[in-house]
């Protein structure tokens, strides 16, 4: 079973698409305290409704908070949330980072760290037969406003083509 470590950007996009609860039910989803601060605490202060949804998933223990024990020295162009996510990756064996942040992905690629973009979690759920094509396309459409057109088109094509392992 997959174990995902989500950064703030991925968490927000998965919440907006409506797929987060489904993902959390089928896979282990972890965030750090820093990500909780960014998505829940800061979001609530500014009255973003998605912050309440994320808090609900944490309270239901669908999203687990795990803190890293050893902080890594990471690049200066990354924030506290991304840094904590990468630090936790080195601690949590067989995990995959979920992010849609281009600068963070560059760091992950440089360090051969496996990652998924949030839209590919929709594809994963579809390939694993956890959701049907119509549902997958519906989730992707809700994410459309937050991902680059070419990435959206590519994922949409992959969902429609019934890709298999």
């Amino acid at each position: 079973m997959y174990k995902f470590i989500l950064d703030a950007d991925a968490l927000i996009k998965l919440t907006k698409s409506g797929i987060l609860e489904d993902v959390c039910h089928h896979y282990t989803c972890i965030i750090t305290t820093e990500i909780k601060n960014e998505c829940v605490d800061e979001g609530k202060k500014r009255l973003y409704k998605d912050a309440l949804k994320i808090e609900e998933f944490i309270n239901k223990n669908l999203l687990k908070i795990i803190d890293f024990k050893k902080a890594r020295k990471i690049k200066e162009n990354l924030g506290k949330g991304e840094t904590s996510t990468a630090s936790l990756y080195f601690q949590e064996k067989n995990s995959i980072v979920v992010t849609d942040d281009s600068a963070f992905i560059k760091y992950l690629e440089e360090n051969n760290i496996k990652f998924f973009v949030p839209a590919d979690l929709i594809l994963l759920m579809k390939i694993s037969n956890k959701i049907d094509k119509k549902t997958a396309l519906n989730y992707l459409d809700k994410m459309k406003g937050f991902i680059k057109k070419e990435a959206y088109d590519d994922v949409k094509k992959d969902i429609k083509e019934d890709l298999k392992w």
Partner: protein, 97 residues
């Protein structure tokens, strides 16, 4: 931390600074800071869009939330996400489980 930084401004812009400060019932230093911050915001969002700065770091620099960064990007017609090549890599990881 706050840093005091001296700078020279062209005389011609001072009346505009004064006008804005009167209209908004604030002082000229705040008006200057607002202009500076607006320019900084545009620059930071552009850096995020080009993958040179993370969204989290942008939020820290501008003292905003991640949600705010996405809202600002949206207002500028930008979508802050992985590039096509990065998404392809993600798909490769997914298919070669």
């Amino acid at each position: 931390m706050v840093v005091v930084y001296p700078m020279k401004l062209r005389e011609e812009i001072i009346p505009l600074i004064e006008l804005k400060s009167k209209e908004e019932h604030t002082n000229k230093a705040i008006v200057l800071k607002q202009f500076l911050y607006k320019g900084l915001e545009n620059y930071v969002i552009e850096l995020v869009n080009r993958g040179r700065l993370s969204i989290g770091k942008a939020a820290e620099i501008l003292d905003l939330s991640i949600y705010d960064i996405h809202e600002i990007a949206k207002s500028k017609g930008l979508k802050l996400s992985a590039t096509r090549e990065q998404r392809q890599k993600s798909k490769e990881y997914l298919l070669n489980k």
